[in-house]
């Protein structure tokens, strides 16, 4: 089939019941171009790209390739036309290995022993371009960042004409993002086109040629990157000015809340994913753990929140030993959890929004009486979270799976923060949030810190870590490389520690 020289989406509209996800969206992209797609959570970016990839069909409008109208009925057609996509929510088969996942849609794979062949290809690919993945591991053993790498490699290795990337960098480290960008630039140089969705404005500005801004399903702005900047873009997106760097006031830390002593945790692929880690988190403190994902952070927070068993060491909350206690007990001790994989561990996709707002707390007196749930309070509780955290949703009586990724994240954060926890354990709290929502959440975290909660923040986003944390620990291969007060730390040192040097 002929290469994609120019692709147009013309007057695309899409409705979900009463929600207007896209309305008369038109744009075009030419070969060699990198087009940025921006918009608030729920603006309709994923919907638009799913229509282009034919995972869903538009209600109105058409797609033209090289000037000719094409009918794409399923991803199969899109793939044949040379379109590839990295999805916002991982489209991976949990019980299969990385190699099997990539072999699934790889036409070049031989009929017999496809996984072995693909594994070799992937290793070759990683050697040239970076983005390392271990081909023999099963997906369920991988952290979110590693899964993201697999998704990217899966799309890149196919060599497509037009590549759609829906928030590929949310859980990548800066280093990995850099590797990805150099690959994308090289692809564009070779005449491929790329559509890139991100909430990180610097990324959009540094890699894209043009940007489109979507708002409530409509295109509200388009510009070349030379003639715009961060503030202008943010204003176009949310319709108001965004404060990017806010002051963190200094607060004296309070008494000890969480103490982790010599903790040893078995992983899914190793005997020891966490190797004797110790640290303390105090009241009125945000304690950050930086590190490349897959270095034991996930296992660490799973143990603290009661989702995994430790094989040694202890965890104390307010002096009480909760090592290997059940998740219910841990949660009743006032520990909240924002998990790194929101769809898998943060929500029950098929339940309504209001039901999801009381997960883990449905048995509290406030929400239930004996055997019965008190739906009135539950619903008003849900309404207030939706309002305070600006969750875009048709109503609280919608199954939560119908929300956009960022809005699901806002709802989880709302649920966990409003529970008035003593300790909030948050992994990538602003994962997938738009600039407005990110600002709001960071402000909330700082405000709650002032009111006396302790926060354990796990993130690969150093900017976020520096902006929010009072102290920063760096994890590498299951050990803590050092703990620094934020004032004494700088990005270079933290970067070195993330690669394994001790401080």
């Amino acid at each position: 089939m002929k290469k994609i020289e120019k692709l147009e989406m013309v007057e695309i509209s899409k409705y979900f019941h009463t929600t207007r996800a896209n309305y008369k969206v038109s744009f075009s992209i030419e070969s060699g171009e990198i087009l940025g797609l921006l918009g608030e959570n729920g603006a309709g970016k994923t919907t638009l790209m799913n229509i282009l990839y034919s995972l869903i069909q538009s209600d109105e409008g058409e797609i033209r390739i090289n000037g000719e109208t094409v009918r794409l009925h399923s991803p199969k057609d899109a793939i044949q036309r040379g379109i590839g996509m990295v999805h916002q929510h991982f489209m991976l088969i949990q019980n299969h290995t990385v190699a099997e996942n990539i072999a699934l849609g790889f036409e070049e794979a031989p009929f017999f022993f496809p996984a072995g062949h693909v594994a070799k290809k992937i290793e070759e690919f990683s050697r040239i371009y970076g983005l390392k993945v271990n081909t023999q591991e099963k997906i369920w053993q991988l952290s979110a960042g590693e899964q993201q790498r697999v998704e990217i490699v899966k799309a890149l290795i196919r060599g497509v004409d037009l590549l759609i990337l829906d928030e590929p960098t949310s859980v990548l480290t800066p280093q990995e993002s850099k590797e990805l960008f150099s690959i994308l630039r090289r692809m564009a140089g070779n005449g491929h086109s790329i559509i890139f969705i991100s909430h990180k404005l610097e990324e959009i500005l540094s890699i894209c040629d043009r940007v489109l801004v979507l708002r409530r399903g409509e295109i509200v702005g388009a510009s070349s990157v030379q003639s715009t900047d961060k503030r202008k873009l943010a204003r176009m997106m949310v319709g108001r000015d965004i404060i990017f760097d806010f002051e963190k006031e200094h607060i004296e830390r309070g008494p000890l809340i969480l103490e982790v002593k010599e903790l040893i945790v078995p992983g899914d692929r190793t005997e020891r994913a966490v190797k004797g880690v110790s640290f303390k988190v105090y009241k009125n403190e945000i304690f950050g753990i930086a590190g490349v994902s897959g270095n034991g952070q996930r296992e660490l927070i799973e143990v603290i929140t009661g989702l995994r068993r430790a094989s040694g060491g202890s965890i104390l909350i307010n002096g009480k030993d909760i090592t290997n206690a059940s998740a219910r007990l841990v949660s009743d001790q006032g520990i909240s959890h924002v998990p790194e994989e929101r769809i898998k561990f943060g929500i029950v996709p098929n339940l309504f929004i209001y039901e999801n707002t009381v997960l883990k707390r449905h048995h509290n007196k406030r929400f239930s009486k004996m055997l019965f749930l008190n739906y009135q309070t539950i619903k008003s509780h849900a309404e207030s979270i939706v309002k305070d955290f600006q969750v875009t949703a048709p109503s609280i009586n919608t199954p939560i799976k119908n929300l956009s990724g960022g809005n699901i994240q806002k709802l989880i954060l709302g649920r966990e923060i409003t529970g008035e926890p003593t300790l909030l354990v948050a992994a990538h709290p602003t994962y997938g949030l738009d600039v407005g929502a990110t600002e709001y959440i960071r402000r909330q975290l700082l405000e709650r810190r002032g009111k006396g909660i302790a926060v354990l923040l796990i993130s690969e986003d150093l900017e976020e870590i520096f902006e929010l944390c009072d102290r920063i620990a760096v994890m590498f291969e299951g050990e803590i490389m050092g703990i620094l007060p934020t004032q004494e730390a700088n990005i270079e040192d933290i970067g070195l520690m993330m690669a394994g040097s001790r401080k």
Binding site: N50, Y53, L55, I56, Q57, S74, P75, K76, I79, Q80, M85, H87, M91, L92, I93, Q94, N95, H96, E100, A103, L104, G105, A109, P110, F111, F112, F113, P114, A115, K138, W140, P349, K401, N402
Partner: protein, 307 residues
């Protein structure tokens, strides 16, 4: 003594073959994400179709072919209802069992007790069949015994070592992700269900043409349910299905042998289910929680584009 042993082993393999064939069919069906509880019905239909056609044409080969066809046709009902109409697969499968059993006894009534005029001749593998004991047991069997061995190994290779295998398993694990990789979910599932139906039909005909060489009502005798248990016992792995099929086949044979010495056949009849529970139990105790995985989306209808 030797001859008793030989005959027990011999009958074990004969009794195990239909179990193996149908289990292989259920394995591929379930691997694609569709649960078919209609095995008992599909086997009954295959048994009757095979018997009638063999009587009419005098050719057991034609009988076998029509049994396979009958199995495919009746499984197509289940495929249509559960894949295209997205109905509840448990209900549809149970309905298939009743439909198949009812239809088989209706069409089979005039043929009850009629002897089979032609037999499927055992296929003697030269030289190997002369080995003492083993030769008589393994290398002087009906052709479908050998075929089932080949099919089992082929299915194992297909599922675990080929692109189609990855595709089938992926569809059963995560249809949305598979579709995003360019697969047509319905096509893959239809093919797998129909193959499963054909194998169940073949298993039924093995019962009427080779195992009992006659048709009686209730010939399948609950084997369809044993196959469901066997599929789990085998943990959806064709090679483990061999072990299970012959183990359970042996139980059928022992029922007759041990009855005279006072062991109730019902007790032995329970064994396949107990053995399946034991496997699940042992698997549950095993370290690493992902050991016992049924296809993740088994029994879930797939709607395109739904989140």
């Amino acid at each position: 003594m030797d001859s008793i042993l030989i005959s027990v082993l011999n009958r074990t393999l004969v009794a195990g073959t239909p179990l193996l064939l149908a289990t292989l069919g259920e394995i591929i069906t379930e691997r694609s994400g569709i649960l078919n509880l209609g095995i008992e019905g599909m086997m009954a239909v295959g048994a009757v179709a095979g018997f009638i056609v063999t009587l009419a044409t005098g050719s057991p080969w034609l009988g076998m072919a029509s049994a396979i066809l009958a199995g495919i046709l009746i499984s197509a009902i289940h495929a249509f209802v559960s894949i295209s109409l997205k109905a509840n697969q448990v209900v549809s499968g149970l309905a298939l069992t009743m439909l198949g059993l009812g239809g088989a006894s209706l069409f089979g009534r005039p043929f009850i007790g009629r002897p089979l005029p032609v037999k499927m001749a055992p296929f003697r593998i030269p030289i190997l069949a002369d080995i003492p004991l083993v030769g008589k047991v393994l290398f002087n069997q009906d052709p479908f015994f050998y075929l089932s061995l080949i099919l089992g190994v082929l299915l194992w290779v297909l599922l675990s070592r080929t692109r189609w295998g990855i595709q089938i398993r992926s569809v059963g694990e995560n249809p949305a992700a598979s579709e995003a990789q360019g697969l047509n979910i319905s096509t893959v599932r239809y093919i797998c269900v129909l193959i499963g139906g054909g194998l169940a039909g073949m298993a039924g005909a093995h019962l009427s043409l080779i195992y009992s060489k006659s048709w009686t009502e209730g010939l399948t005798g609950g084997r369809g349910w044993i196959v469901i248990a066997l599929t789990i016992f085998a943990l959806w792995n064709p090679l483990r299905a061999f072990l299970g099929a012959y183990l359970f086949g042996c139980i059928f044979v022992l029922q007759y042998i041990l009855q005279p010495i006072g062991i109730p056949p019902n007790l032995l009849g329970m064994m396949p289910y107990l053995a399946t529970l034991a496997v699940l139990f042992a698997g549950g105790l095993k370290k690493g929680r992902r050991y016992l995985h049924a296809p993740a989306m088994l029994g879930e209808p797939y709607t395109k584009g739904e989140r």
